[in-house]
Every structure is written in C-alpha cells, then in structure tokens.
C-alpha cells in the first residue's frame, strides 16, 4: 500500500507528515461517507429491480409451481420458450398481435401526440399555457383505478351509459353497444384511453426542452435560409432538445407497457372477453397468479422485457448522442 510507504518517510518534516496523514484520514472518512450515502439506494435497487429481473431469467428455464422446488425444464430448459412459440395458441393468436398493436399505437402515437401538444403549447403565452398544460397532464395523474371508473361509467353497456345514450340520440346506433364486454370494441377503447392519458412526465420534459431552446439559434437559422415552422422543428427544435426527446421516448415506452392492465381493469375480467384486450402483462398474471405456472410466466416476462428493450434501443438510436 502507498500509505505504508508514507508512514516510513521519516525524512519528512513532522508538520508536513501530520498534514499528509490528516489528508489520508479525510479521504478514508469520505469513502465511508460515500458508501453510506449510496448503500440504501443500491441495496433497494438491487433487491427490487435487479434481482427480480435475474430471477425472472433463471425461472424462465425451469418448471416451478410454487409448491415444489423449481427444476430445470425439459429440452435443456428451453421448454417454456418452445411452448410459447409453438403451442400457446392464445399467445400467438391474441396476446402477441394485441400487444404489438397496442404498443405501437400508444407508444409512438402517444409520444408524437405529446410532442405536438408540447410544441403548440410553446407557441402561446405563459399564463394560458400553464392552464392548458395542466388540462393535458391531468389524465396522466389519475392512476389506473380512477381511469377505469371514469371509462366504465362512460362506456357502460346499457342505454343509460353516457356514450351509448349520445350515440342513440344522434341516431348512430339503434341498440346500445356492449362496449366493454363484447370484445369488438375493447381494444380500440383501450388505445383511446391510453392515448388520452399519455401526456405525462415525458410531455412535461419535452415542453421544458422546447422552451429552453436558445432563441438566437432560431434567428441564425432564419438568416441561413430556413423558411417555415416545419423546417424549424426538424432542423432546430428537435436537434437542440435531443436529450429531452429521448427522455420523453423512454417515458412513452414505459407508460405504454405499464398501462397494460387497462384492458382487465375496463372489462373487469382476466382473461378479457374473447381475449380482445389481452396483453402480455395480463397473460403473465394469468399464468403466474391464476394458474401458478411460474416458470412459464417468467419466460413470458423475459419476452416482454426484450420487447421493451428493443423499443428503447430504437429510441436511443434515434435521439441518443453518439460517442
């Protein structure tokens, strides 16, 4: 150790030596302090985020029914994955197409919507902007429970349901539609509700990003020959706020997959009527908490995490700063 060497330096003036020792002591105590500051977060983060992901990966290669200890699944542990890809008719016919449709529309769709709204808000004055931003943000802070109360009330399947009564009144339909229980409309309603509540923290981030773009950049761009607002958005606004665009994209992806329970919340049953609103998240719950096939559910979780990872890679490729 270097410190041992320092102790041996008898040639040093006693006062200098004392100073050096004092400095070392400070460094050591700083190390202890840093560790103490980091420890709680690192422990909790490992326990509830890192370990669950690792456990999901490990379990996905096993057969585990909660009562017996997990054992390696057949076919070198790949049994669950092979079953999902080849045998799980519900997954292949409903869950996967539903998840992709839902995620592609609500993820990028919600993101685009957030950006357009944020950009329009940036074009008006501060005080009305504050109120309008609040109005757009409100749906995202309601939380799944209240959102399902709202839309179960609005889309109630009998003629006293508000939407049904409006449609009857306008002559669009002659008998009330069973919006949430029939399976024909559930997916579209889920997409609508998710888009409605998609302007959350990513939206606020992009709004702040647009407002912070340096005005002189715009002026310079106009002198350089930019002609309209569309060019302005693509050549100035977006490139200047890439970090916020990326944050917004990640939040949009997470939001889309986190809201996956909405179909079950709206229809009140898992599986959803005719699997119309069945997403991977519901399929995992179905196998994990209803059938107790934990290994199978874990394999589904891993597939979901890979899908999320893929979407975020796309976002990073679009907006990340290249080293």
């Amino acid at each position: 150790m270097a410190f041992e060497g320092l102790k041996k330096m008898k040639l040093l003036h006693p006062e200098t030596k004392q100073k050096v020792m004092e400095h070392i002591r400070r460094l050591e105590s700083d190390k202890v302090s840093t560790t103490l500051l980091l420890a709680p977060y690192v422990i909790l983060f490992s326990l509830f985020i890192v370990i669950p992901v690792i456990v999901a990966m490990l379990l996905s290669f096993t057969y585990f029914n909660v009562i017996e200890t997990p054992r390696l699944a057949d076919l070198y542990g790949l049994y669950n994955y092979i079953m999902i890809i080849t045998q799980d008719e519900v997954f292949l016919r409903y869950v996967l197409p539903n998840t992709l449709k839902y995620a592609i529309i609500t993820g990028p769709g919600g993101y685009l919507l957030s950006f357009i709204m944020a950009w329009m808000l940036s074009q008006i004055q501060a005080t009305p902007r504050k109120f309008l931003a609040l109005a757009l943000y409100t749906p995202s802070m309601l939380g799944g429970v209240f959102v399902s109360v709202i839309f179960r009330t609005l889309f109630s399947g009998d003629k006293s349901g508000y939407i049904n009564s409006l449609f009857l009144n306008w002559g669009l339909i002659s008998t009330p539609l069973d919006f949430l229980q029939s399976g024909d409309y559930l997916m579209n309603i889920m997409i609508f509700v998710t888009l409605w509540s998609s302007m959350g923290i990513g939206f606020l981030s992009m709004l702040a990003g647009i407002l912070n773009v340096n005005k002189e950049t715009y002026e310079a761009a106009y002198i350089d020959g930019i002609k309209n607002r569309l060019q302005e958005i693509f050549y100035i606004t977006i490139p200047s706020m890439k970090p916020q665009m990326l944050f917004g994209a990640v939040m949009a992806i997470v939001g889309a997959f986190n809201a996956g329970g909405i179909g079950v919340a709206l229809s009140g049953s898992n599986p959803t009527p005719q699997y119309a609103g069945q997403l991977i998240v519901n399929h995992i719950d179905d196998y994990g908490f209803i059938r107790y096939e934990m290994g199978y559910a874990a394999a589904l979780s891993v597939i979901l995490l890979l899908i999320i990872l893929f979407f975020s890679r796309v976002a990073y490729a679009l907006f990340g700063e290249r080293d």
Binding site: L37, P40, V42, A126, T153, V213, L304
Partner: protein
Amino acid sequence: MASFLGTQINPKRFHRSQLKFYLILVPIGLFMLLPVLYVVLQAFKPLSELFLFPPRFFVTNPTLENFARLFRTASGTGVPMTRYLFNSIIITVTTIGLTLIITLATGYALSKKRFKAKNTLFKINQTALMFVATAVAIPRYLVVSSLGLTNTFFAHIIPYLAMPVGLFLVKQFIDQVPDELIEAAKIDGANDWHIITKIVGPLVKPALATVAILSFQMIWNSTESSNIYVIDETKKTFAFYMTTLTSSTSGPAGVGISAAAGLVMFLPNLLIFIIMQGNVMDTMSHSGIK
C-alpha cells in the same frame, strides 16, 4: 420580415398568429377534462339523477349523499372505508419521505463524489428508467416474501423506495450546483450531512418536489401491493378498496359511490400538482438523457 416568424417560442404577448394554436389546444384541453368532469359531477348527483334516462351531463340538484354513503360503507369483511384511507395516508407519507431522503443522498453522491463505479452505477440506473415493474411482478413477489415482508405495512413501502426516474432527475439537477460551492463548504469544515441538508437540499428543492409528486402518484394510485403482497384486509389501501367498490357494486348506486371515491382519490393528486407545477417545469429543463 421572414426572420420574425420563427422566433415565437414562449411569446411575451398575444399576437393574431397564436390564434390557430388556441383553436386547437383549447378544445383538446376541454376534451381531456370532460371525462374527469363527468365523473366528478356524477359524485354529486342524487340517486334519482344517476338513474335518469337519457343521462344528463350536469347535475341539477347537487348532494353530498354519495360521499356520506362512501364514508359509511365497509368492505365485505367489515373493514370501514376510513381504515383504508388512513392506511393509504400513512403509507404515502412514509414512502415519500423515505424516497426523498434516499434519492437526495444517492443523487448527491452520484453527482459530486468520486468513486470507481460511479459511471457504471449511473448507466445502470439510466437503463432502469425503462423498468416496468409489472413485467416482473412474480419475482418481485418472491423477493418480498423471502424477506418476510408479506402481509406487513412494509410491503407497501419498501419495494417502491428505489425510484430510477427520481434518482435520475435529482442527479441531473444536482449537476447544476457548482462544485466550488461544495468545495468552499468543505474548507469551512462541513461534512456530507451539512452539505446535503444546508446546501444541496435547499438548492434542488424543485427536483425534490417533482420526485415527491411522482412518488405520490405511484403510491397513492397503486393497487399492486394490496393485491399481491398483503392478505390482511385491515392493511390494504384506499386505491385497492376502490377497485373492490367498482367491481362489486354495479348499477347507479355503485356508480355514485365509486365516483365519490374517485374524487377523493383524485383531489390530492390535483392539488399537489398545482401547488408544485412551477417546480416540476424547473426540474424538467434538466431531464434530458445524454
């Protein structure tokens, strides 16, 4: 002059050219609020109006009947509604407090300290921004149960304390605090505790407010812990109670009560956000991922 057309981001005063944005934004804003407003109005409708056909948007004879019934209701097992509300308040306050302390401490260390794993740690946290907890609900349950947390109050709190988005935002915000300020404090003999409580903490209040809001929204609205980790009915949360209300009570009477419950859930959300909106926007200016 063409050059003035483009530089209208954050305009100081009204101009005719802004009108088109108002024409789009105001209807959309109203459209976003209508469903919420509808259910809020439902909460004040007497039974006769909830039964009405065709249903009416506005309430003619507002009443607090639904709220009175909500506060008198009890779950199937006889646990009164106020118990759930009390649980939720305790859990939410504790979680927010602990999250703020942990996030501030870690954010400070990540931003201003030098240690080997610093960059790795930040990168891992950034990757975890896209962590979707519901995807690994089962392994999380296994962790919670092997720690012996199931069926305790801690099951509502401890799994939610590490919040990657919160740490990310606070760390980005602390990056704005000049290093010289902290060096000066150190020369004056301040230790990390002093630096955090006297200098960094007060300077990053906007970020902390934002984290508090996000944590509040997550915990207050969450039913996951009550659904999965807790069996004892007396230890479950208000959000959970609401889901039982909405799925068990059907018909207009149930609609009235769940609308009232929804309003009770929603109001704290709204108030907290309105009070802290400025802070949130401040934080969001530093939210970019580089």
